[in-house]
């Protein structure tokens, strides 16, 4: 039997303070609650005739509720957890039918092996077909790119429809990475005053990708993987698992879940304490943010094996196995501005298509000026900072004009803070469930 969570643990899974407050008002509305192994369930009387059926799978954790709320977890799931944390959910021998059905479905999904690998000859054939299609698509893209430059950016069509049309061709050509890069260009043109320079830079990167793809067989293996990744070839889990494991004491420095069209994406920033290497875990879930893999919470450290996706500047990784329980860390070996910029230069050298790279800056003071936000070190050297205003004010409030340690993503123009480390505690600077960048900009355009 799992021991009940503390109130703090319950609070940590809530999307916002409001739903937690709402959950508290439900304590008298429960009936038929129960707890077994790693599941909780109960009926919660709402304003309607039939009560809501709420189930929590503590592994994960994952939530299911028959209420119409779009919040996740909803107030009923939180209320049930609170009730449990107060020791008011009795142990039971077996689940009621409504819980069994959902928990059963989850269990099958977890134990199900992935789709069987097609026989290798067929796989080879389809891979060949795909490579031909991508190559043809990229050639077409290059014609379009050079046409744009030939007739001049000032006179070509830079409407969203124009970019969408080319992007759609790239989807057909099975180059989704290129397609999404093209779609982003519409926002660049609409939102940035320096869009011609940005557009030229992005066209140049795409052209470089086409050129690199044409010479794929000549490239060394890591770079070949990088090019394929940016074009959007899928990498099989097995292939990643086949990469040698990297063992370190990984510190969780950031975690963010974003949603776009019901696709939830969770991003976790890890830094290896012993070797100073960065890793990024990306998980996806459809419909609800129930991610298959559990990761330790922000501010904890765990001795674990990771497998990196192959590439010239590997960052994305898969969690393999932990060698012990997660524990909180209270100190952080942080570098300064110069080493961070040097590291980024090396990354750009290895992978010129990379958009951003994690950095950890110690002893920097967040500052707001008329020109924008900065991180200033003890020598008065400064890097620009960007991001959600609310989070930046939180960062400024935490520092109060004193140096702190900031973890963020650097993209050669500005640093987007992910978390801040102050007096032994990591504070997240990305909301638990934030709208992803592209949906936010799309909203602003309307």
């Amino acid at each position: 039997m799992t021991s009940p969570w503390s109130e703090g643990q319950v609070a940590s899974v809530a999307t916002d303070a409001g739903s937690l407050a709402a959950a508290r008002t439900l304590s008298a509305s429960w009936s038929d609650t129960g707890h077994t192994g790693t599941a909780l369930w109960g009926l919660c009387q709402g304003s309607g005739r039939s009560p809501y059926r709420t189930v929590v799978d503590l592994d994960g954790p994952a939530f299911s509720c028959s209420c119409p709320s779009r919040k996740f977890p909803c107030k009923h799931a939180l209320g049930l957890l609170l009730l449990w944390s107060q020791g008011q959910v009795p142990d039971a021998a077996d689940f009621p039918p409504f819980a069994r059905e959902w928990l059963g479905r989850r269990a099958t999904r977890a134990s199900e092996p992935g789709p069987p690998a097609p026989p290798s000859t067929a796989q080879g054939k389809s891979a060949e077909r795909r490579a031909d299609r991508v190559a043809a698509g990229l050639d077409e893209l290059d014609l379009w790119l050079t046409d744009q430059i030939r007739s001049g950016l000032g006179s070509t069509d830079t409407s969203p429809a124009a970019f969408d049309a080319v992007a759609a061709r790239m989807v057909d050509a099975q180059a989704p990475g290129v397609a999404s890069a093209l779609r982003r260009l519409a926002f660049t043109v609409a939102l940035r005053p320096d869009w011609p320079a940005r557009l030229l830079a992005e066209y140049a990167k795409l052209h470089l990708l086409v050129v690199a793809h044409r010479r794929l067989p000549e490239l060394p293996e890591p770079l070949r993987a990088t090019v394929r990744a940016h074009v959007g070839y899928p990498v099989s889990t097995d292939k990643v698992r086949g990469e040698p494991a990297v063992r370190d004491r990984w510190m969780v420095l950031g975690s963010q879940t974003t949603e776009e069209k019901r696709l939830f994406t969770r991003k976790v920033w890890l830094l290896g304490r012993d070797h100073g290497r960065w890793a990024l875990l990306l998980d996806f879930a459809h419909g609800t943010p129930n991610f298959a893999n559990a990761v330790p919470p922000l501010g904890s450290l765990v001795d674990a094996d990771l497998h990196f996706y192959p590439g010239a500047a590997p960052l994305r990784a898969q969690w393999d196995a932990g060698h012990g329980a997660a524990e909180p860390f209270t100190t952080l070996p942080a570098g300064g501005i110069d080493p961070a910029l040097d590291a980024f230069a090396h990354v750009i050298g290895a992978d010129p298509w990379v958009r951003s790279w994690p950095v950890l800056l110690g002893g920097v003071t967040p500052t707001v000026t008329d020109e924008g936000w900065l991180l200033v070190d003890a020598e008065g050297r400064a890097l620009p900072v960007t991001g959600d205003e609310r989070n930046l004010w939180t960062l400024l409030g935490i520092s109060g004009g004193h140096p702190v340690t900031v973890c963020g993503d650097w993209n050669s123009e500005a640093l987007t803070p992910v978390s801040v480390f102050d007096r032994g505690v990591v504070h997240s600077l990305v909301s638990a469930t934030a709208p992803s960048v592209s949906t936010r900009t799309a909203g602003r355009r309307r």
Binding site: G8, D16, A17, G18, L20, A21, A22, R24, T25, S27, A28, S29, L145, T146, D147, I149, R150, S151, G152, L153, G154, P196, A197, L200, A201, A204, K205, H207, L208, V211, I337, D338, L341, F344, A345, H346, I348, P352, T367, V368, L374, V376, D377, G380, R381, A382, P384, R390, W393, T394, L396, G397, I398, S399, G400, G401, H402, S412, D422, H427
Partner: protein, 491 residues
């Protein structure tokens, strides 16, 4: 790079890029292909070179925030505070009272969110600012959107040189801290202010209004602008010791007299045929008043603005005044005006007289003016039983000492139980019997019942046969328990 860009904008069909000036020029020259391909290749090279070669700029960090050596809020209490604010919880008043008394400061990571909350939360703004302390003030000084949250004494320059909204903000803030100083500043510049600004400044005096403001308000009665005069009249009516009030008392005495005959004391109204200029200056206007005639309106204006003590002199106590015979034509106008005067002058004796005479018919604005102790006695004596839980009863609870005495909780629970019994026997969830019509009383109960009322609520839940009421009692008990937890966290 700008070379490459201008060629790209113009098009390679019309222009050729010069590569030799690029940082990566030498490498770029080895790129082959048509001019467009060369340009894109060169741009890719140059971009990578630039992205990797970014260096830090120079900047001086600002002075840090002042130290705050108060104890930080316990983490659980801090988390709950954000939830309470998000839910606009009624428990916040009690929570802040304890937190401020214990001298806590907010944890740094919540200061920015608390400042945002303070901006939109009129009720708890000052408490939030107390909690965020110097760190909050330091932050507010850097965010123009938070300028209204700055609480420094040396901001007189805002009044002298600020824009109108800034000056108004300063005035309102200053009125709540030091009303006399604020009035002095307004008085100093009064004659040079623009008309519409004068109206806004006079209206701002409503905060912290006191006898010291009478002179300026009197001056405003001669203003050219009608809205300035109207605001002044509205405020003067709340100052029963002012010269204005004395003039109104004189008019009242001239228009209304008490006729004392054996067995027949009555109030006789004798209105003038027209208004003189001084009456018009005092804001008495010709308004057609619900078909009761212009004179009814004059009478109403005068009685509303005359100090209630004038009636004490003419008739006797407040309850004697309410009992006096009045001609039918004037009775309603007089009563209505006395109610208004009681509210405007915040007169507790008249409020008591109204409550004891009119019971549940008492105007709701009047009831809270009855001293809390007296209201409590009134309820505990059973006078309010029939309307204690309804909308009429809510005003009785206004500003009672917190927490409420257990006897009051007992009385309210007993009334709830009566309703629950009726409810269970009829099985209807309609009108008076609906649980939802008692929502606000239940809310006040959760907020103000003493912790010792929890067992009473549980007992009530057990006795009750109606499911909805059972749940209502348990919820109230649970919420009081939660309140207890919240306050315990502050220890």
């Amino acid at each position: 790079m700008s070379e490459l860009l201008s060629t790209a904008l113009l098009g390679t069909a019309r222009s050729t890029p010069a590569l030799q000036d690029l940082a990566t020029g030498q490498l770029a020259q080895s790129i082959t292909g048509d001019p467009a391909e060369v340009l894109l290749g060169a741009a890719a090279l140059e971009n990578a070179h630039r992205a990797g070669g970014v260096t830090a700029s120079l900047h001086v960090a600002p002075a840090p925030a002042e130290e705050d050596d108060r104890v930080q809020l316990p983490p659980a209490a801090a988390d709950h505070l954000m939830q309470l604010l998000a839910a606009k919880s009624w428990t916040l008043t009690e929570w802040f009272a304890v937190a401020v008394e214990r001298g806590y400061r907010a944890p740094d990571h919540l200061v920015a969110d608390l400042m945002s909350a303070a901006r939109s939360n009129d009720t708890h703004r000052e408490n939030i600012l107390r909690l965020t302390g110097p760190r909050g003030q330091w932050l507010a000084a850097q965010n123009p959107e938070w300028s209204m949250l700055r609480r420094t004494a040396d901001r007189l320059e805002v009044w002298h040189r600020g824009s109108h909204p800034e000056r108004l903000q300063w005035l309102t803030a200053m009125r709540s801290v030091n009303p006399a100083a604020a009035t002095a500043e307004v008085q100093r510049t009064w004659d040079t202010e623009r008309g519409e600004h004068r109206a806004a400044f006079i209206a701002a005096l409503a905060t912290g209004l006191g006898d010291a403001d009478a002179a300026l308000l009197e001056h405003a009665l001669d203003d050219r602008r009608k809205d300035v005069r109207q605001h002044a009249v509205q405020l003067l009516r709340q100052l029963p010791r002012s010269a204005y009030a004395q003039r109104m008392a004189a008019r009242a005495r001239a228009w209304v007299r008490v006729e004392k005959k054996p067995l027949r004391t009555r109030l006789v109204v004798n209105m003038p045929g027209s208004l003189d200029d001084s009456a018009r200056r005092d804001g008495i206007e010709n308004v057609h008043f619900k078909n009761k005639g212009i004179r009814s309106w004059w009478l109403r204006m005068v009685v509303t603005a005359a100090p209630l003590s004038a009636w004490d002199d003419m008739i006797g106590s407040a309850s004697q005044a309410l009992d006096i015979r009045i001609e039918d034509q004037w009775r309603d106008v007089m009563t209505e005006a006395w109610v208004n005067a009681t509210v405007l002058q915040r007169n507790p004796r008249w409020a008591s007289a109204f409550l004891h005479k009119q019971g549940r018919q008492t105007e709701r604005r009047v009831v809270p003016l009855v001293p809390a102790g007296e209201r409590l006695e009134y309820i505990l004596a059973g006078h309010a039983d029939s309307y204690l839980l309804g909308v009429d009863g809510a005003a009785l609870f206004d500003d009672l000492p917190h927490p409420w005495p257990l006897e009051l909780a007992q009385r309210i629970i007993a009334r709830f139980e009566d309703i629950a019994v009726r409810h269970a026997s009829t099985g209807k969830e309609l009108g008076q019997l609906s649980r939802h019509s008692h929502y606000s009383t239940l809310r006040s109960a959760e907020t103000h019942f003493p912790f010792s009322a929890v067992p009473l609520l549980h007992a009530a839940a057990e006795r009750t046969r109606d499911h909805g009421w059972q749940q209502a009692f348990s919820t109230a008990a649970a919420n009081i328990e939660h309140r207890r937890t919240l306050l315990k966290e502050l220890e």
